[in-house]
Assembly symmetry: C2
Homo-oligomer: 227 residues x 2
Amino acid sequence: MANGRSIRFYYDLISQPCRALYIFLEQNKIHYQKCPIALRKWEHTTPEYLQNVNRFGKVPAIVDGKNFKLAESIAILRYLAREFTVPDHWYPRDSRRRARVDEYLEWQHSNTRLHCAGYVRYVWRGPLRGETMDPRVAKRLKAEMVGCLDFIETNVLQRDVHFIAGDEISIADLEAACEIEQPKLAGYDARVGRPKLTAWMQRVKETTQPDYDEAHKVLNKFAPTAT
Amino acid sequence: MANGRSIRFYYDLISQPCRALYIFLEQNKIHYQKCPIALRKWEHTTPEYLQNVNRFGKVPAIVDGKNFKLAESIAILRYLAREFTVPDHWYPRDSRRRARVDEYLEWQHSNTRLHCAGYVRYVWRGPLRGETMDPRVAKRLKAEMVGCLDFIETNVLQRDVHFIAGDEISIADLEAACEIEQPKLAGYDARVGRPKLTAWMQRVKETTQPDYDEAHKVLNKFAPTAT
């Protein structure tokens, strides 16, 4: 453990990858400084943020020490797993187990993330910003999301393992679960009708409590079907 | 070097990530078996392919030894960089340099890849499959791609370094360059009007010849503005 080391964490818990990173930081008792960034106030697009924190203008981001700026949640998770002493299961040193974690995380971008976030953005965030919603577009985006979640149920979650990349929780599960919670904002609960996904989400939650619930407080507050 | 080790490589060089992986394999003289998969014949969707090679139904994929199946080009690149003796610059062991490679590769999915591939898919591949093209959609997709490429020119490629993540070539450059070549299929040359991007693409090409040109032979054959 690098005690006293200063990691500044820039985040908004309404963002899925911010929640994944928050849970990881808390679970591993990594000392960090909270730097909340309100997306609704566009604080991630100010010139100061772009220059001093993340030139990509997104959350999450970290600044390690005086000036090592790093963006992209998955790159940050890998960096923290190298820089701090964390249990091996999060990002296994075993080459094939690590490859399995990486495989899901790469696949996720154009699948779980694209479709779940895409639907929420169009159906929930768009109208909040005064954008009009075309029901045919909403229907198409929902169908793409449903297809992706069904694929996760039948192909990604293997019958004989407890988590995405094996019998122990990894950073792939954190990223995936946080993405799959997001459609709740648009009134869609991914668990309904998907028993394997439901059991897996429950395992991720139980393994990472109380941090999982803490991370999802804001989302559950805004979600019409909040449980 | 694990001489005699059997890696089967499933690919179609019309696909960007397949080209990146092909260049890496050739540059590092990794012994592998070529298993071409014709996307235009939907060979990536046959039950045999899904079961024996890649359940995600995509290229590239590898099978290492008897049965270690791995999908997703970036996960494969990281795996090969661990499993074989390759020069450090491809995926540096130094934690911060590695983080910089990872940061670009994570960012790329929802930016370089989404926008360049999205435009090509709609404007080039769609009509080939008999789909009608809405000029307004094509215009919007092109604007998104142009915005992304401009951002790469001004923000991703730093003035004082030669490659994306430092002064030496890494897997980030391979993935990026292969994505940015793709819009040629739709008659769009990303180099035009972008001097930093042009110089960087040239460096990537020169550093990886003759494999770069070999990888892009098929693309250049189909590209209306082939040079």
